[in-house]
């Protein structure tokens, strides 16, 4: 298709491993840079982490003891070095505020965010892509206007307000979905005491345990916040799909296909879509990564114990190990998604393989 002769087998393997190596190197450098910036910010904010541990009434001696324990008197580069060394061994340190290991705290908060973000992205993609295509194929029509207005609302309305209105309507008035939180208390108890945890994602764990009543309850809790996040990413995805698709539909090969008498759905969904998919993958991956950071406002309204509130709480308490740990996880998610979308490119676009 591209006219490039296929390469010998070993050569491609070599190239692939080279690319993976390069990817890993990028990952390492990105993470190091990320850590450095976060670390520096943590040190320049005028907040004393010791105060948040010992409280207002502590004596100077009590404060000094904590300072020594945390190594806060060491030179900054040394503190950073110690942190990176431990992080490389999977030890993200101990939360200053709670005294718990950051890794174990994150392993509790991240699945909640992952579950929400994944469902949100699925919603956003399933609705956003067809809506974008619809708008692109009928530019200026009523359908296009509707998609634009709905998308614009998703962009411009504060998510806080949207969330509250969503709760008021679908939970408060209509009673179609369950309220804030991940489960009703009774099911929460069941989840915690009788079911076997696998992933920390309630939907998956409940399904694996065959506890369908828990599953249904979790679903009725997650549908609204996931729908809300999905709406916001849908707004972005549909706008991008529309412009990518418009661009493709103006190309000569599309005209050729139409002249050949190919059915319109095939022109759009097969021929044009193939090319739209390449940039679209990046758009979807980016919006997924954005949701993985954890949306603090959504988490607050829906009492969702996710990564966003974890990092924010950490920041307010000057709990740098928690903030850095959260940042590392978000960073890894970002870079991984980036790599995944790179790999997906190669699958959908043979030109990228060379």
């Amino acid at each position: 298709m591209t006219g490039v002769p296929s390469l010998p087998h070993e050569n491609r393997l070599l190239r692939l491993s080279g690319q993976i190596g390069l990817g890993l190197l990028t990952l390492a450098i990105t993470l190091l840079g990320l850590l450095l910036v976060t670390f520096l910010i943590g040190r320049v904010v005028p907040i004393d982490p010791v105060l948040s541990i010992v409280g207002e009434r502590a004596t100077e001696a009590q404060m000094q003891a904590i300072r020594d324990k945390l190594g806060l008197d060491l030179p900054m580069w040394q503190q950073f070095f110690i942190y990176v060394r431990d992080a490389m061994q999977g030890d993200l340190g101990t939360s200053i505020r709670t005294g718990e290991s950051v890794s174990s705290e994150i392993s509790r908060y991240f699945p909640a965010t992952l579950e929400l973000a994944t469902l949100g992205t699925i919603f956003g993609t399933l609705v956003g892509v067809p809506a974008g295509v619809l708008a692109a194929t009928r530019p200026g029509s009523i359908a296009d206007q509707i998609v634009r207005v709905v998308g614009l609302m998703g962009y411009s309305m504060p998510i806080f307000w949207l969330g509250l209105i969503g709760l008021l309507v679908f939970y408060g008035h209509l009673g179609w979905v369950a309220g804030p939180g991940r489960l009703d208390p009774a099911f929460g108890m069941m989840m915690e005491f009788t079911l076997k945890p696998y992933t920390g994602m309630i939907l998956i764990d409940a399904a694996l345990n065959g506890a369908w009543d828990v599953f249904a309850n979790a679903l009725s809790h997650i549908i609204l916040p996931a729908g809300l996040l999905g709406y916001v990413s849908m707004a972005y995805i549909s706008r991008m799909t529309r412009s990518f698709m418009m661009n493709e539909l103006g190309q000569e090969y599309i005209t050729t296909a139409r002249v050949k008498g190919m059915p319109e759905w095939r022109v759009i969904w097969v021929h044009a879509m193939k090319n739209v998919l390449v940039p679209l993958i990046t758009v979807i991956a980016l919006s997924y990564a954005y949701l993985l950071e954890g949306s603090v406002l959504t988490e607050t309204i829906f009492a969702w114990p996710g990564l966003g509130s974890y990092i924010t709480n950490g920041l307010f308490a000057a709990d740098m190990p928690a903030v850095l740990g959260g940042t590392v996880v978000v960073g890894v998610a970002f870079v991984t998604l980036n790599m995944a979308s790179d790999i997906l490119y190669r699958l959908v676009d043979p030109r990228a393989r060379t």
Binding site: R57, T98, W212, A216, N313
Partner: protein
């Protein structure tokens, strides 16, 4: 293909079940279960000897007990807890407590005097943040084994000098003096932590409930114990859910998915008024709102300016609008409910009087003063109101808005001009506030006595007030002690670097069928074992 089928089946089932999910049917929480919503992200630890935040102490109040307790109905009066009787020897330094018999911990272990002595020693030896409440009696890790002893069913506590007995007793009602099951706790000791790590996720007390699960920033579950010494709790399970957003709590309460909402804003409370399914229960809290005027700034050390400021604040206006239901006018440093608290609020907005005082100050008006305020809605509203009224008397306030911790650093570093702050008592005795508002043994920068609010704002109360405050904490006659605190409060209210404005009020909204909930007033914490539905 198989997988696809499985997934499709699961999805279909899920959709089917959504219609029949108990959620959709359940209008109310189960009769033996209490679901409470609150913001509990303040919790640092739930080890009773480390916990010092409101939510953690609330939790502990339901799973642990102290030797003696404060009578919620009569400020300053003591009632038995785990001790059936207590007394102080003639030397004024030896306190004895006789432990009740027949009380068991949640593990089944019987409560002994050894547990009581061991628990108080543990507080001192671990020396976590609230430990000062006990160590202020001269207890150290080195001497505590001699100062706190037990024999048979009696615990003896020795202090380093004589104090007002009511002071010692009041401190022993604080959460830090909760008694733990030392045998169980020490079984879980790791690296010499005296079981601190274990108690951060478990409970080992004599309280009406036992902790079933605790997830930071998410919630906790308490389960009632059979055969509790106070009588069995009516509510079998208490679910605490961390819901930081007031509007969300309100919605849950209206729907009947929670029984009590504890983090509502005035707007939410207003919205709930008139709803027959919901009732609102008022109570006081222990915190006070005040202005601290840095005495290093000459204009703020001028007594006429200080007095003018007291007359240039719209106390009732703020109370009735922006602070509705959450704060009430209170111009004395001891919150209502404390031993020795007084009710007089002599100041009100009087611009003319304030102007006249400013004219007498000898300053060239207007003056420009910095105002350090924490960036949150309520504080900004208060700051704006004060900025407005102060401007009318020739004081232009320049707002310095920042994060709470930042503002605190400025205050502790004596770098503010005026700062808007709240203060919450550390333990239920008047000395907790008197010692910080009316005492400052050394006002020099080098002293770095950040524990004293008077030092932070560079105010020297003078030898006389320092001495009077020191004497009040040693006064054996409780009636006399009450009188002394009244006098100290008036002096601070009328002639100090502090402008006291409001006391915290609490508004808990609950379903109409919930009764018997006690929020704890200014001196105690929430009690769930008294609740019925």
């Amino acid at each position: 293909m198989q997988l696809k089928h499985g997934f499709a089946r699961a999805a279909a089932l899920a959709v089917l079940m959504m219609g029949t999910s108990p959620m959709a049917l359940m209008a109310e929480t189960p009769a033996d279960t209490l679901v409470v919503a609150d913001a509990i992200d303040d919790i640092v630890s739930i080890d009773p000897h480390e916990a010092f935040e409101f939510s953690g102490v609330d939790l502990n109040n339901n799973v642990y007990d102290t030797l003696i307790e404060l009578d919620p109905t009569k400020p300053g009066e003591l009632v038995p807890g785990l001790a059936e009787s207590w007394s102080v020897a003639d030397d004024g330094m030896t306190y004895t407590f006789k432990i009740k018999s027949g009380i068991t911990f949640s593990s089944g272990n019987p409560l002994t005097a050894e547990d009581a002595a061991g628990s108080l020693r543990r507080v001192v030896k671990m020396n976590k943040t609230p430990a000062f409440i006990l160590t202020q009696f001269g207890l150290t890790a080195e001497n505590v084994d001699q100062m706190i002893t037990f024999d048979g069913d009696t615990v003896t506590l020795k202090t380093d000098k004589t104090y007002a007995p009511s002071f010692v007793y009041n401190c022993l009602t604080a959460g830090v003096a909760n008694i733990v099951d030392m045998k169980t706790v020490m079984e879980h000791e790791a690296d010499g932590d005296m079981g601190n790590g274990w108690l951060k996720a478990n409970s080992a007390g004599t309280g009406a409930y036992v902790l079933k699960s605790f997830k930071p920033n998410e919630g906790y579950v308490l389960e009632a114990r059979q055969g509790h010494w106070r009588g069995d709790a009516k509510i079998k399970n208490v679910f605490m859910q961390h819901i930081p957003e007031g509007a969300t709590e309100r919605l849950l309460l209206e729907k009947g998915d929670i029984d009590i909402a504890r983090e509502l804003t005035p707007t939410d409370l207003e919205g709930l008024a008139g709803n027959a399914d919901v009732k609102i229960q008022g109570d006081v809290g222990g915190q006070v709102y005040y202005l601290a005027l840095n005495q290093k700034k000459a204009e703020l050390a001028n007594p006429k300016v200080q007095e003018a400021m007291r007359w240039a604040i719209d106390y009732t206006g703020m109370q009735d609008s922006i602070l509705k239901g959450l704060w009430v006018v209170h111009q004395n440093f001891l919150p209502k409910g404390f031993l020795g608290s007084i009710d007089e609020n002599p100041y009100s907005l009087d611009i003319e009087k304030a102007k006249a005082l400013m004219a007498e100050s000898g300053l060239t008006l207007p003056i420009e003063i910095g105002f350090t305020v924490r960036n949150n809605q309520e504080r900004m509203d208060i700051a704006t109101s004060i900025q407005n009224t102060f401007a009318q008397i020739g004081i232009n306030l320049v707002l310095d808005v920042g994060d709470g911790k930042q503002g605190l650093e400025t205050y502790r570093g004596r770098k503010h001009d005026i700062t808007l702050q709240t203060w919450g008592p550390d333990y239920p005795d008047p000395h907790t506030n008197a010692s910080t508002f009316a005492m400052n043994p050394d006002n020099s920068d080098e002293a770095n006595n950040t524990g004293y609010l008077a030092w932070r704002t560079a105010w020297d109360p003078g030898a006389e007030l320092n001495a009077e405050t020191a004497a009040a904490v040693e006064e054996k006659d409780s009636a006399k002690r009450v009188e002394m605190y009244g006098d100290i409060q008036r002096k601070v209210r009328d002639h100090s670097a502090f402008v006291l404005m409001f006391q915290q009020a609490r508004q808990d909204a609950m379903r109409a069928n919930v009764s018997g909930f006690y929020a704890g007033g200014a001196t105690d914490s929430a009690s769930y074992w008294t609740v019925t539905k």
